[in-house]
């Protein structure tokens, strides 16, 4: 053994300690090049392109793109949609995760599978479901028309579709975390006389807050960026039912490239901000975890 080890060291010119799992320099560098090339081509290049195109005619033209009333309306609608669907999913997600991870009941695995449904189906189908239910020819179509309620090709439809598509994010984030934490602390709180509500606010929620925060920002990113499902239910009415991603498409189809990329850059910035926040939360979470062990 000793002779093998020493012969390995002698063949390595770097002088670093011999490592059993290290490949030759040629293999390492070619793998690194491939990986970097891949990341550059698929991730960095498009991101750079968005900003380059957006700023092609200067900063003035870039900011002018946002002065357009249609663009402003798209921004407002996107914010409104996120402001409704994220809190809704926050409540649903926490309730679902609490239910799945702290209680045993029949049909639990079915529920877990159902939570994943929006991830499993194509976003276009998600949108279509609502058209089939609430559309003019849909199940409730005639009733809705009779009562003058507009869901499809209107804001409610967009909110519904977005909420559906983003439903799993928070629940998915919380279920493994809450399952890992178990139920002992809750039981302890109950034996000490805490009510179910007190147990939730004082024990469960503080323990999941970082995971919850993480789920919320991922959910928010998706809610603002969703294209497929929203596209189906929106009807693309300018200034009324266009969200940011839909507005980008329209501008692009009209050869208004600077406008399209400027609006797209907003979404790109949102993505970057999300990733920064996400890394921060992961770092915080690791710190809290580290302190707990």
């Amino acid at each position: 053994m000793a002779s093998t080890a020493s012969s390995l060291t002698s063949t390595r010119s770097s002088g670093a300690l011999p490592r059993a799992t290290q490949d030759s320099a040629w293999v390492r560098w070619s793998l690194i090049t491939v990986a970097l090339g891949f990341v550059g081509f698929f991730l960095v290049l498009p991101l750079a392109a968005v900003f380059t195109e957006a700023l092609r005619r200067g900063v003035g033209a870039y900011f002018d793109s946002f002065a357009d009333p249609d663009a402003r309306s798209a921004i407002r609608l996107t914010l409104l949609t996120a402001a409704i669907s994220v809190p809704a999913n926050l409540v649903f997600g926490v309730a679902a995760a609490w239910c799945v991870s702290k209680f045993a009941f029949r049909g639990k695995s079915l529920l877990i599978t159902l939570i994943d449904l929006p991830f499993a189906v194509s976003p276009v189908i998600s949108g279509l479901i609502y058209v089939l239910i609430f559309g003019a020819q849909g199940w409730f179509g005639s009733w809705l028309i009779d009562h003058d309620i507009k869901i499809i090709f209107a804001v409610p439809g967009i909110v519904l579709a977005t909420t559906f598509v983003t439903f799993p994010f928070i629940a998915r984030e919380l279920i493994p975390l809450m399952q890992a934490q178990g139920t002992d602390e809750e039981y302890a709180a109950i034996t000490l006389g805490a009510s179910g509500w007190q147990t939730f606010w004082r024990v469960t929620l503080p323990n999941i807050k970082w995971g919850l925060f993480y789920g919320v920002i991922l959910c928010n990113a998706r809610a603002m960026g969703e294209f497929g499902a929203v596209s189906v239910v929106s009807g693309h009415i300018r200034g009324e039912t266009n969200t940011l991603p839909l507005h980008v498409e329209i501008l692009y189809n009209e050869y208004s490239f600077v406008g399209a990329f400027a609006v797209a850059s907003l979404l790109a910035l949102l993505a970057i901000a999300t990733l920064v926040l996400k890394s921060f939360i992961e770092w915080r979470h690791a710190q809290v975890r580290g302190a707990a062990h």
Partner: protein, 351 residues
């Protein structure tokens, strides 16, 4: 406060955790629920606490004669210490201890100052006065255990329930904490039940030991009773080491034996290693012939493993170091074994 549990049955699907168990714990006693894992002891403890519900039927839990079967856990007045302590990880030690007081309704809640004073008092009791502002993660296992106990005691429970209280601690800390708990329980005189799979712990600590196996109670008695007079082969084998001797056993029991092996139907006898006499083989002496296989003399007592006759039966004998020196035994020596005390059973039970 005495505890009375009657006809407790609990099934999880097809698995029976408790099969019609009855248990009475007198006021102020320290009782151990002892058994191997899966014997139902923790389930019984959780049912007494109200954290699990017994299967519907004639099951009944009473505290001091008062039926609490349908009283929720938080209103039963029990202090529960969990196996892994279940301290609230985001709260300091002081906040953990104060929790049970802080969650009370405004009418019943003591003033802030009163709560702080109570916390200080409990911190003093558990000898952690300086550590009130630490978080559970900054404490050692033994310290966490004591914090969990203080937290449970803060609400002045009438019954204290501990699930494997020393299970996760190392041997030294375990011994200290055991002594401390024993003394502490005597001082405040609170009726206490603890669950353990460690027979030594149960025998040393408890006023009364409840031996459980396979969803049933095998025997209830003082440590002396269950150790000296095991009711079933299971108890014999679970409490302390024991030799299972196939009968017939040649030679009579030694002089002064209280239980001769006279039952003709008996097929096996249980004999503790220290209830066997060992002597060098010589013609004229009574006893079962055996061959010495190994000798362990590190410790207060010497342990000799013998092979009975030519069979596959191995017998452990414990004797004083002095006796071992007198005998000057080495492996492969022939010896004679005589039973001083033991008990026969007709059926061949296995653990």
């Amino acid at each position: 406060m005495s505890i009375q549990a009657t006809h407790i049955t609990k099934t999880f699907g097809a698995y029976t955790a408790l099969a019609g168990v009855d248990l009475h714990v007198p006021q102020g006693k320290l009782v151990a629920l002892l058994g191997p894992s899966g014997s139902g002891k923790t389930t019984l403890l959780r049912i007494i606490a109200g954290l699990e519900h017994p299967d519907a039927g004639s099951a009944r839990i009473a505290f001091h004669g008062q039926d609490v079967t349908h009283v929720p856990a938080g209103k039963r007045g029990v202090g529960f210490v969990f196996q892994h302590y279940a301290l609230f990880r985001h709260m300091t030690v002081a906040e953990n201890i104060a929790f049970g007081l802080n969650v009370r309704s405004r009418k019943e809640r003591p003033s802030k100052a009163a709560i702080a004073a109570r916390v200080q008092e409990l911190l003093k009791l558990i000898q952690l006065e300086q550590l009130g502002s630490r978080y559970p993660s900054q404490l050692s296992g033994g310290q966490r255990q004591r914090v969990a106990l203080a937290r449970a005691l803060a609400v002045e429970p009438k019954v204290l329930l501990l699930d494997e209280p020393f299970g996760a601690l190392d041997a030294q800390v375990r011994k200290e904490l055991r002594r401390w708990l024993r003394q502490f329980q005597r001082e405040i005189g609170i009726t206490t039940i603890f669950v353990t799979h460690d027979q030594e712990e149960a025998l040393e600590l408890a006023d009364e030991v409840v031996v459980m196996n396979q969803a049933r109670i095998e025997q209830v008695g003082t440590p002396q009773e269950v150790y000296d007079h095991p009711a079933t082969p299971f108890v014999y084998q679970f409490l302390g080491s024991v030799n299972k001797l196939q009968l017939p056993w040649r030679g009579l029991p030694s002089e002064g034996s209280s239980i001769p092996f006279s039952d003709p139907k008996a097929t096996v006898a249980f004999v503790r290693p220290h209830d066997l006499d060992i002597a060098r083989f010589s013609i004229g002496l009574e006893g079962e012939v055996a061959t010495v296989k190994s000798i362990h003399s590190a410790g207060a007592l010497a342990r000799i493993t013998c092979q009975r006759g030519l069979g596959e039966e191995y017998i452990e004998v414990e004797t004083s170091r002095q006796r071992l020196e007198e005998l000057r035994l080495i492996p492969e020596d022939n010896v004679l074994l005589r039973v001083r005390k033991g008990r026969t059973f007709t059926e061949d039970y296995t653990i």
